[in-house]
Amino acid sequence: MVDDAPSPGDNLRVDAGQSDLVRRAQTGDTDAFGQLYRQHVGRVYALCLRLEADVARAEELVQDVFVRVWERLPGFRGESAFGTWLHRLAVNVVLGDRRAAWRRERRVFAVESPEVHETPRDVDPALALDLETAIAALPPGARTVLVLHDLEGYQHAEIAVMTGIAEGTSKAQLFRARRLLRERLGA
């Protein structure tokens, strides 16, 4: 699974028409930017929803992502596919927002470690779990690594950089996430 995972942004590869949209959006054409939004919003929303496991929060983050894309677009030089660039930016926005939220909570509750927030969400065992629900119920750290690695195709080294954890921790979190999923879905 690990090595067969899709490359980040695989489904967001740019085409010729898209480069024209990107160029127009770089000069301030909001109609062109709107077309780019419609082409990519589904992929960005799926990422935000799975990382945050919260529909309302995912919608807010999608808006944040596209506003950030608009701000950064003049600096996009086409060294990677636009979709890959956008996707990485989306991950950074979500993780950056999460870090900021954690810092705020830490100040309020004087929490010593983020591990206290790493408890799995309550899921009614009587409910028939589908995979999406089971992923949403994972502890945030394990869910993040599972989504980025198994669904989005990032490697552990990349995840370590993006999330600020050690590569070994990323591997451990993935192992934990998959074990929890197997337990919940296999019951």
Binding site: N11, G34, Y45, A58, L131, L181, L185
Partner: protein, 152 residues
């Protein structure tokens, strides 16, 4: 459920999910308009024009045949490639931008020609060689900045 089964099911999940609400209106309300004004490279171009203009005065009296150094040839090749890239899409830049670019390139090219003649007369003229490389580098910098400009 074993690991292979889990892997298979993860692989079947959709990579794209449409949001339940239209988020675009909330995004457009937050988009700041792009700044319009003088091209960002214009101050650099003006500075280059001043420098090479001064150099031209110094070199104008020195007449010789051009003998480009390997560094000069390499810089010239890259500059030519950049010009080709610009010419592929001539309508992408505003006419005023292209006119300013051509004017600055003419000044720079004149200085380059003068420095080459000086070097041809005295191949060991380290100052002339240094100036030639500096002006060619400035020419490259100018072209690179123009290439990176947002297109209309």
């Amino acid at each position: 459920m074993n690991d292979e089964e889990l892997t298979r099911r993860l692989g079947e999940l959709p990579r794209s999910i449409e949001p339940p609400h239209d988020l675009w209106p909330g995004i457009t309300a937050r988009l700041a308009p792009r700044r319009r004004g003088l091209p960002r490279w214009l101050p650099l171009a003006a500075a280059i024009a001043l420098v090479v203009g001064g150099l031209s005065v110094w070199w104008v009296a020195r007449r010789a045949t051009p003998t480009p150094s390997p560094v000069a040839v390499q810089a010239q090749d890259e500059a030519a490639d950049l010009l080709v890239a610009l010419e592929r899409d001539p309508g992408a830049l505003a006419p005023a931008t292209i006119a300013a670019l051509r004017q600055n390139l003419a000044v720079i090219d004149s200085a380059i020609a003068d420095s080459r003649r000086a070097l041809a007369r005295d191949a060991g003229d380290a100052t002339a060689d240094r100036w030639l490389r500096a002006v060619q580098r400035q020419r490259l910098d100018l072209l690179r900045q123009v290439i990176r400009l947002p297109r209309s």
